[in-house]
Symmetry: C2
Subunit: 112 residues, 2 copies
């Protein structure tokens, strides 16, 4: 899966799903689920990459990148992912914000 | 400044700047700069909020939200911010990716 902290995305436009969350203290298989979802997502058509960070206080930001809005809709409807979303709402996340955005410009260091 | 881990953003559309970075081991006032930039950004016209996480390995994702592309351009050109960007390139960041995106949909738990 993610072998680098950085997604190697193509030239814009493409789409980003920005998921900011605070974890509850419940474990219930969270780490296994997160690894499984990263693996499943990476096999979805239109998946471009993922960047994910969680700090010591349990606040996390995961950004996944997708070729099209349809690819995001398909991933949202993936059966295993739907089950994980439900566990997320009920057990794992105290609060989250999910935003879907169209990437229009991108810069990097070292340059692309 | 940021009193919560979550930005309280309005209904889309609005803009997001997604900044993913890996820190060098150099300190040189990084924390003070980061706090100062968060404060300055929050006073810019069109600033809507910021979410920022860095993990123990030094990988960070900061997402700032803006009303318009013009607001992002103005913030990029802020004199103190330009100096911080130059220090970032030279000293603080080993690698970064910066993406500017138009937020089109948003969801939350608890629901907005």
């Amino acid at each position: 899966m993610r072998t680098s902290a950085f997604a190697r995305t193509p030239e814009p436009p493409y789409y980003a799903v920005v998921f900011t969350s605070s974890r509850t203290s419940a474990d219930n298989g969270y780490d296994q689920m997160a690894a499984r979802m990263a693996e499943l997502a990476s096999r979805q058509p239109g998946f471009l990459g993922m960047e994910s960070v969680r700090d010591a206080k349990g606040i996390g930001i995961t950004v996944s990148y997708w070729a099209t809005l349809e690819a995001i809709t398909d991933w949202k409807a993936n059966v295993e992912h739907v089950a994980a979303q439900q566990m997320g709402k009920r057990v794992w996340y105290e609060h989250y914000e999910l935003r879907i955005a169209r990437v229009e410009r991108a810069y990097a260091k070292p340059a692309g």
